[in-house]
């Protein structure tokens, strides 16, 4: 496929926090969408041709959640759909709709009301295979512990390297208004924190947060007409490896490599080195950031930890990785995580990232992973 001509012309973020008793999920959706429409200068009732949300029934506590899209997004009696996937996958659906030529503007929404879920782990049990994994009655995060052990022993990275990811991201988040789990911490603090699923430690696991996100996509003509600062989505890719943990290569996230390969091919990026100035990538667990950097070719196999140590991934480094603070600093947002990362890249490319602003950011990428127990990732390449 040739370089796609789809742009983001507006984004919105709702009230945000580790808890949000002041708003319902409906109000959260409404707020994020209203802000995005306002930035794009459009009226959803006339101007938006299609609406897409990313949501999962069990996270919402509502079956067939698509029922509650149209009223909140202003999409009543128009095309609406749900992607049971990550926010970036929902953006992919919007991009493809625009590329058919039959849709000019598409709005994409995702939100997390994680604080409504009383038993996250109980819920995750239901995501594991009912015949093979669930009967083990193990805390599903054991998969993260196993995977981290495999990854560290197969690569040259160490537990210290993984801990450094948490240090970087939690400190970066100090500069971000969304940094609800930010902390001024040092390497010793992370290493001394309680081992949870050894070698994983407590401060290396992201904690949940609540927030709603919306982006408005437009075709080339509308983007140029409506926006002074369109951000172009030049590549988008997604991929699922086997759902069965025992059938995956634990040390190497092939799903991330394939998703990135698809997005980079579309964007015409033959060599990942120095291609981007900024990357917002999945860091649900500390080691995941390193694993994903290597799988996507942003660091050579086994070298991500050393580069991190040298400061290459700091806000002022060669490639700023999670300058927002990522999930470790801003919280884990369920399937809204991808849209959070995409919005953080948008803010950087539009020069609106305030304290976390990376200098001369003209090309960036966002990458999400759907979390335990999945092997699904999505990648978007963004340019101004």
């Amino acid at each position: 496929m040739a370089k796609s001509k789809v742009a983001v012309i507006g984004y919105g973020v709702s009230s945000y926090g580790s808890l949000s008793p002041e708003v319902s999920y409906k109000e959260m959706m409404y707020e994020a969408c209203s802000k995005a429409y306002q930035m794009a200068g459009i009226d959803p009732r006339q101007d938006v041709d299609s609406f897409v949300t990313a949501s999962e029934d069990f996270n919402e506590g509502t079956s067939i959640f698509d029922e509650y899209i149209p009223d909140q997004m202003g999409g009543m009696l128009r095309p609406n759909q749900t992607i049971a996937g990550d926010g970036i996958q929902a953006v992919a659906a919007g991009v493809m709709q625009i590329l058919t030529g039959r849709f000019k503007i598409v709005a994409v929404e995702a939100h997390s009301k994680a604080s409504n879920i009383t038993d996250h782990i109980g819920l995750l049990h239901f995501a594991t295979d009912p015949a093979f994994t669930r009967p083990l009655r193990a805390h599903p995060y054991f998969l993260a512990g196993l995977e981290m052990r495999c990854f560290l022993s197969a690569s040259r990275n160490t537990e210290q390297h993984a801990a450094r990811v948490a240090v970087k991201n939690k400190n970066n988040a100090m500069l971000n208004p969304l940094g609800v789990h930010s902390a001024k911490i040092a390497l010793e603090d992370v290493l001394a924190s309680e081992p949870t699923f050894s070698p994983l430690k407590k401060l290396e696991q992201s904690k949940p947060a609540d927030g709603g996100f919306c982006v408005v996509l437009a075709n080339e003509k509308m983007a140029k007409k409506l926006s002074d600062k369109p951000v172009w989505i030049t590549g988008i890719g997604w991929c699922s490896d086997s759902y069965q943990p025992e059938r995956r290569e634990m040390s190497w996230p092939e799903y991330a490599r394939l998703a990135a390969e698809m997005a980079f091919r579309q964007a015409g990026i033959p060599k990942q080195k120095n291609a981007f100035r900024i990357a917002e990538i999945d860091d649900t667990f500390s080691y995941k950031e390193l694993q994903h950097l290597e799988a996507m070719g942003l660091a050579r196999k086994g070298e991500s930890g050393r580069l991190l140590e040298q400061g290459a991934f700091d806000i002022d480094g060669e490639l700023a990785v999670n300058p927002s603070g990522g999930s470790l600093g801003c919280g884990h947002l369920l399937d809204a995580g991808g849209l959070f990362r995409l919005v953080e890249v948008l803010r950087q490319l539009r020069g609106e990232a305030a304290g976390c602003q990376v200098k001369d950011a003209r090309k960036g990428m966002a990458m999400s992973w759907r979390g335990i127990p999945t092997a699904t990732a999505a990648v978007a390449v963004l340019e101004v």
Partner: protein, 385 residues
């Protein structure tokens, strides 16, 4: 925009399939569709999958769970849904994946495993209602159908006998469908004498709960003839969601189906659907719904669908055959899979491969439609050979 064709279809038998998981059902349907096209997974560039409420089989992120069975391994795999409208919608989803130019081929799979829900999948439907206003009432999905059926009958002065004809027709049509769960020779009297579930809905007015899967292979105009000599083109797609506040609208007419149909007709260049659609699969989870949807699809005027049915126009040898497959009333209703089954039936009808089920009249253009959510969703595809 690339023109997109359906080149192959596959289906499992619809029934209670306690021995198989949802991923096995997906595999059976996907495998049949691929084999029919002489393809392997290597020919498939992406997979579009659909299954609706996870509550049925209690698997969170059910799309991920089904991915291996649907052929999504290490591929761009995406699950979409719009409630009961999902089965037709996933065809639209596959359409835009290919029409965008991003992929040449797409495997579309829809599956549903309802039998694992105890004591009855109806209980899972409580969770589709609004958590503040409606759920505390302990709602049952049948109630809202009963309200809608009653409203439809009252506004147009329709007798239950007229509506029951749909159930009689579809269950009879299903006798020729090897995938059917409850094909039966029944009479209007049987329907009226069956148990009242929520007046005016009787047991034989309703489709059963089922397990099953259906699959399609889509290909762009560039490669379609590589896989078949008789591609069936997706020339029109439309979908629409109405408000979730169903109590605020008049239930006698599905305006969301009209909007979805108008979108699909515009794309397909259809101005007179009654003349230009030759065979149709309107969504029939309840017998009155087929009539309701025929009106929403503008295949007849408001309140006229019962008359067409009485005259035999919608029989297989009629001028506008509807649900020649046997529909949900006869074949069964594994939610997402049933919509895809309807698309597959139109595909077979247009290719004149429906065997005993083949309609008498010549068909160039056909239509499949599904409905879903709280009287909210209309999804429509127009197919041409």
């Amino acid at each position: 925009m690339k023109r997109v064709a359906i080149v192959s279809a596959g289906i499992t038998k619809f029934m209670r399939r306690a021995q198989e998981t949802g991923r096995e059902l997906s595999f059976h349907a996907a495998n049949m569709a691929l084999k029919n096209a002489g393809m392997t997974l290597a020919d498939v560039q992406c997979v579009a999958e659909s299954t609706a409420p996870d509550a049925f089989d209690g698997v969170h992120m059910n799309g991920e769970y089904l991915s291996d069975g649907s052929g999504g391994w290490r591929k761009p795999y995406l699950r979409s849904y719009v409630g009961g409208g999902s089965g037709v919608f996933v065809t639209i989803h596959g359409w835009y994946q290919v029409a965008s130019g991003m992929f040449d081929t797409c495997l579309v799979v829809a599956s549903e495993k309802m039998s694992s829900c105890h004591p009855h999948p109806q209980a899972a439907f409580l969770n589709i209602f609004d958590n503040f206003i409606e759920r505390p009432l302990g709602c049952n999905l049948l109630w809202i159908f009963a309200l809608e059926m009653n409203r439809y009958m009252t506004v147009h002065k329709i007798a239950h006998e007229q509506i029951a004809l749909v159930s009689v027709k579809n269950k009879k049509n299903a006798l020729d469908n090897p995938a059917a769960q409850i094909p039966e020779k029944i009479t209007v009297k049987d329907v009226l004498n069956s148990e009242v579930l929520a007046w005016p809905v009787h047991r034989l007015d309703i489709s059963p709960t089922s397990d099953g899967a259906a699959a399609l292979v889509l290909a762009s105009e560039d490669v379609a003839y590589k896989y078949t000599d008789k591609p069936v083109w997706i020339d029109g797609v439309g979908w629409c969601l109405d408000t979730a506040y169903w109590t605020n609208k008049d239930l006698y007419y599905p305006r969301y189906v009209e909007k979805a149909a108008a979108m699909a007709y515009k794309m397909a260049g259809i101005t007179n659907p009654r003349k230009e659609i030759h065979v149709a699969e309107p969504y029939d989870p309840f017998d009155y719904k087929e009539l309701h949807h025929m009106e929403g699809l503008m295949l007849c005027g408001k309140g006229e669908a019962p008359k067409l049915t009485e005259k035999g126009v919608t029989q297989r040898d009629g001028d506008l055959p509807t649900c020649p497959s046997g529909g949900l009333l006869g074949v069964g209703n594994p939610i997402a899979a049933s919509g895809t089954m309807k698309v597959a039936e139109i595909f077979w009808q247009l290719r004149e491969e429906a065997g005993e089920r083949q309609v008498t009249r010549k068909c160039q253009t056909g239509l499949a439609q599904a409905w879903g959510d709280l009287m909210q969703v209309g999804t429509v595809v127009v197919l041409r050979k």
